[in-house]
Symmetry: C2
Subunit: 197 residues, 2 copies
DNA sequence: AAAAAAAAATGAACTAGTTTAAGACTTTTA
DNA sequence: TAAAAGTCTTAAACTAGTTCATTTTTTTTT
């Protein structure tokens, strides 16, 4: 049986950094599980232990925490061809503080902790794949953590818009505010101001 | 010849995630270069291409950028047993926007781009080492990028103090302010306020 | 050990971003 | 398709953090 649709997408993603033989591809796909979530459904909630790391093949999800006042802080929007999950919980087996909620009907491929570990034994090349994947994520999170601290809200909005032109229109302004780190009211003001130019 | 001092420290750091044979240890150490920098000297300046990734065996350094107003934003303090550098520049070979400056006389071990790549060929286990190292850094940068956006300056200071009790006293208040993302004046106020309790 | 330079403290006037509240608009549910 | 729930806008009063200016304290240089 030939891989298709979602499978092709994840194999292409992996092929950015490592070459797999057809046999290895089969093996890899066999370690993944297909998951579907309806809009507004949760993939994970605070208190859960993260059972999977996810690759998104369709849709959009938001990853967020709630602070002690109950206000949400979004740490990422995950769309097609992105990886997501709570790595800390996934590798330590401790409860997560994150929620992952679909903002559209979505489809994912999940790898369980057991299979993630098995993967490194069976196809050691995946150490390299994840080494490079994490290295790249690290670069962008280092940048984001600097931006969060050093840029104004307006600058952060403009940066986001430039970096993710495809995502801006797919999420609510409220969620965008929770990502940028400001109130929805101030987000509204910024957007009015920026678009006026 | 037996490894000692700085060499022992880096081998111990690596041994957290992978086991090396004595021969592999020798090979690894042969790919590293010892570097010393005096207090206030630069290891890297904006415009340079990052030639090395560094492991600190002694001292303290600050990694920072300057914004368009010339204000510094510190992205990390690197002390003994920490890894640092500008990974984006190191792997893409493009000029960095970072400065790395010693805040104390410091000693480091550096690995060049060529040797970094050679390392993965000669001792593939290092893919695993870096996979785990980057995975862990990623977890802490994701947290930091959320904190930068969602916590008040006072909360960020308290969090820093709790996480790096050994570093707080080693850096100036001004540098701490540039790390937390506030003015030195406001940092001074926060410290007075927090210590008053 | 003195002079110079940098860091820290303090305060007053300012600005970016929050809070609260209310009305208009859009999407979801029954 | 009407009602309910959530989202967006606007505005006034507020607060966290900045800016600018001055003095004191600490560190560095000679």
């Amino acid at each position: 049986m030939k891989p298709e649709g979602p499978q092709l997408l994840i194999l292409k993603n992996v092929a950015r950094f490592i070459n797999l033989t057809p046999l290895e591809e089969q093996k890899y796909l066999s370690l993944l599980r297909e998951i579907k979530v309806k809009k507004r459904a949760f993939l994970m909630q605070a208190g859960d232990v993260a059972k999977y790391e996810y690759f998104i093949t369709k849709g959009c999800l938001k990853v967020y925490t709630l602070d002690d006042t109950g206000a949400p802080h979004i740490s990422m929007f995950a769309v097609e061809d992105y990886w997501t999950g709570d790595m800390a919980s996934f590798i330590t087996n401790k409860p997560t503080r994150y929620f992952i909620k679909a903002t559209e009907d979505s489809e994912l491929l999940g790898i369980s902790r057991a299979n993630y570990q098995l993967l490194f034994q069976e196809i050691p090349k995946f150490e390299r794949f994840y080494r490079i994947l994490y290295q790249r994520s690290l670069i962008s999170y280092i940048k984001r953590s600097n931006h969060g601290i050093s840029l104004s809200a307006e600058e952060r909005y403009i940066t986001f818009k430039k970096k993710y032109p495809n995502i801006v229109h797919r999420v609510t302004q409220k969620d965008l505010a929770a990502y940028i780190g400001i109130t929805p009211e101030f987000m509204s003001k910024i957007i009015t101001k920026v678009n006026r130019r």
